[in-house]
């Protein structure tokens, strides 16, 4: 009987392309069958936990940088370094940093599958109506005191029901028709699309180094960034949680109620399909330090240590990281493959959908940073998400909250 492999991922929109890869792989390896299964993000991690505990985890699964340290600690991931060495996997084939994100103390836990950066999505109808030139959008800057040109832009794009913008002294912030900008959520410990790029461009960093227990959430530069963001809803420039509900920033944008949203690269295809008005993906604003920065995240494919077919699982992971599969991934235009040079293929695919998302590649080639990689991340994320919610949605001062949260987070990281 053929060897059965189970592959689990969380993003439904990526399933078709990996199924394509699986079919191709099965042709090359007649003795192996791969079942690609999908489970939503909310239950993905607890269902994986159950799998580890129950010895029923998938052989191979998509992993996230913020989640894998705990799995490493619990010893549920297979160290693929020896296999990679044996089969001469070249780390340099991937975009810089992607491969090393998944290694620790000489062990390697994943082959990178894709990468993502963050950009701004802008409603061009609105900017044009406000008389803002498209080029001006490429050179935004930001600082936590007055918000810089980015702050002015989003204030000008905000409109009340009398069509006054937020710079107008008569602006009625209780009757806002269009918000200038929307922070999607609280962002937990990463703030991937929410606040990390602002804070890092303000000179902040998550931790001293990957795996370091020294976390910096108590840094005033993060606090001032968050305080600035938290003030937006109070000024009427962003929706309050009440107004936002469960829709998410993207939906508000789609509905034409928000002019600018930060957006992850993985959303490109979906947004391109949905948007019925002129829009543009533009770079994040430049921070006070003079640089624009973005988190560079990405999926890695890992092998569960309990798999009964480590060799076949490795071959599948290796195939996933190979140009053949990455080509398929690229052509789907959903995400950007981890291998150098294939991003352009993805961009082409996206442009066929009418999306010009080159900015993500440019961002990736600029200054990026990795998400925090730390032990006990699940609990730390809880602590920080709760603090972030209080700051961003209740408008409580960030400083004291973050000091306390950082104390707890460090304690957890050290345990």
């Amino acid at each position: 009987a053929p060897v059965q492999l189970r592959h689990l991922l969380w993003d439904a929109s990526q399933r078709p392309m990996y199924q394509q890869c699986a079919r191709d792989f099965e042709r090359l390896h007649p003795g192996v069958q791969v079942r690609v299964q999908q489970q939503g993000w909310d239950d993905y991690w607890s269902s994986l936990s159950t799998g580890f505990i129950a010895n029923t985890a998938p052989d191979v699964f998509a992993n996230h940088l913020s989640k894998f340290p705990e799995q490493v600690d619990n010893g549920v991931l297979l160290d693929i370094a020896p296999l990679a060495q044996r089969d001469r996997v070249d780390p340099a084939a991937y975009l810089p940093g992607l491969y090393d994100n998944w290694s620790r103390q000489g062990r390697q836990y994943a082959l990178p599958a894709d990468w993502d950066t963050v950009a701004l999505l802008v409603n061009l109808d609105m900017t044009r109506r406000a008389g803002i030139a498209d080029e001006a959008l490429q050179r935004l800057d930001w600082n936590p005191r007055d918000g810089g040109s980015f702050g002015r832009l989003i204030a000008r794009l905000t409109r009340d029901e009398a069509d006054r913008d937020a710079l107008d002294p008569a602006f009625d912030k209780r009757r806002v028709k269009v918000f200038g900008y929307q922070t999607p959520a609280a962002g937990g410990m990463m703030g991937q699309t929410e606040w990390s790029h602002f804070a890092v461009s303000n000179g902040w960093r998550f931790q001293d180094a990957p795996w370091s227990q020294v976390l910096h959430y108590d840094d005033p530069r993060l606090a001032e960034t968050l305080d600035w963001l938290a003030a937006l809803p109070r000024r009427g420039v962003s929706a309050t949680p009440q107004q936002l509900g469960r829709l998410g920033a993207e939906t508000l944008f789609t509905m034409g109620r928000v002019a600018v949203v930060p957006i992850g690269a993985w959303m490109t295809g979906q947004m391109a399909r949905q948007l019925k008005f002129p829009h543009a993906w533009v770079p994040l604003p430049v921070g006070p330090g003079g640089q624009r920065t973005s988190m560079m995240g990405g999926i890695g494919h890992v092998i569960w240590k309990g798999t009964r077919h480590p060799e076949q699982a490795w071959q599948w992971v290796r195939y996933l990281g190979s140009p053949a599969c990455q080509q398929v991934v690229a052509q789907a235009g959903v995400v950007y493959p981890a291998i150098r040079g294939l991003a352009e293929v993805a961009l082409q695919a996206q442009s066929r959908l009418g999306a010009d998302a080159r900015v993500f590649l440019a961002t990736a080639q600029g200054k990026t940073f990795a998400p925090p990689i730390v032990a006990n991340a699940a609990e730390i994320n809880e602590v920080l998400d709760s603090a972030m919610q209080r700051i961003l949605f209740s408008g409580e001062p960030a400083g004291p909250l973050l000091r306390e949260a950082n104390r707890q987070a460090r304690a957890l990281a050290a345990r």
């Binding site: 909310d42 991690w45 607890s46 936990s49 159950t50 580890f52 505990i53 619990n74 010893g75 549920v76 309050t240 949680p241 009440q242 107004q243 936002l244 509900g245 469960r246 829709l247 508000l252 006990n376 699940a378 609990e379 809880e382 998400d385 709760s386 919610q389 209080r390 949605f393 209740s394």
Partner: protein, 316 residues
């Protein structure tokens, strides 16, 4: 949940304990006990496997640090010491209690009102079925439907509020209203059940009592206060006991709607325990917390049963 407490039944059964009188037992002495053991064997197995041993096991686990992936480590009372100082644990207890305090009075009063209205107005099975319907739906489904109804931006309720000239409300997304919203949703789900229980109680009250009272000149209100309410006491006690123990275990609705948020405003105790168990894989700590919760609930149930015994059914 695997087993939910039903304190009322427990008290009821002690009353009905029949004397061991198997008249014909002499007929086939050996066979009878043998048959009996054979017949309770599956249930006994189930009891031992899924109630007795787990209960003991839970105590044992609560003294360990165990994530199920590595062998458990004995930590003595550390988990208990830790929860003593864990603000989030006490916060969870407080939230569960707060939930109960919001949920129970409202659902009891509405249920009673509904029952009285049905009792006076209609015997219609259709009406009863409709009233009971929410209780028959799963927690998850009810939570989802209300999540949609109460969505701040798109929900039908906010649309209605706005049409009526009111302010939009965040409901589940507002830290200050989320718990109340969860409570209200469960009032919606349980109100019909409570009403049916009260209705059964009402219909157990002999009509002649009302006729006798009418002969004595009692007004409608006097009948309600002096006959109906006192005679509904047993149902009332039952409803209160079961809803308190049920409320302290609220989980499903929170898991679906708010996941403990926003800002931990709905991080009720069971959610916190489950989060520790399956989110953070801290089986020992979660078990310790569940032991404390269990102790609190047992204490409450025992107290209530004392009260109930003191207050036996006048109609029985």
């Amino acid at each position: 949940m695997i087993a939910e407490v039903n304190a009322n039944n427990i008290s009821a059964m002690t009353d009905h304990e029949a004397p061991a009188q198997a008249a014909w037992r002499t007929a086939l002495p050996g066979r009878e006990a043998w048959t009996a053991w054979a017949m309770i064997a599956p249930a006994l197995l189930g009891f031992v496997l899924f109630y007795a041993l787990p209960a003991l096991r839970a105590v044992e686990i609560s003294f360990t640090d165990w994530n199920l992936l590595r062998p458990p480590r004995d930590v003595g009372w550390a988990n208990y010491q830790r929860l003593w100082h864990d603000e989030r644990f006490w916060q969870g207890m407080k939230l569960s209690l707060g939930y109960a305090l919001m949920n129970i009075p409202l659902q009891t009063m509405l249920g009673l009102g509904l029952a009285v209205a049905m009792d006076r107005l209609t015997r219609s099975l259709f009406v009863k079925s409709v009233v009971l319907l929410p209780y028959l739906l799963s927690n998850v489904l009810v939570a989802l439907v209300w999540l949609w109804m109460l969505d701040p931006a798109l929900g039908a309720v906010n649309a209605l509020i706005e049409q009526l000239g009111g302010e939009r409300q965040p409901f589940f997304s507002g830290a200050d209203q989320a718990l109340a919203t969860v409570a209200a949703v469960n009032v919606w789900r349980h109100m019909g059940l409570v009403a049916m229980l009260f209705l059964a109680g009402l219909q157990n009250i002999p009509r002649t009592l009302y006729e006798a009272a009418a002969m004595e000149g009692a007004s409608e209100w006097q009948m309600f206060r002096r006959i109906t309410l006192p005679l509904l006491r047993p149902v009332m006690v039952f409803v209160l006991v079961t809803s308190v123990t049920g409320s302290l275990q609220i989980f499903d609705t929170v898991a679906v709607t708010t996941k403990g948020g926003p800002q931990d405003a709905t991080r009720v105790i069971v959610h916190y325990i489950v989060q520790n168990a399956f989110g953070f894989l801290k089986m020992g700590y979660a078990s310790a917390m569940s032991m404390v919760l269990c102790a609190v609930m047992l204490l409450y149930t025992v107290l209530q049963m004392r009260l109930m015994r003191a207050d036996q059914n006048d109609l029985a």
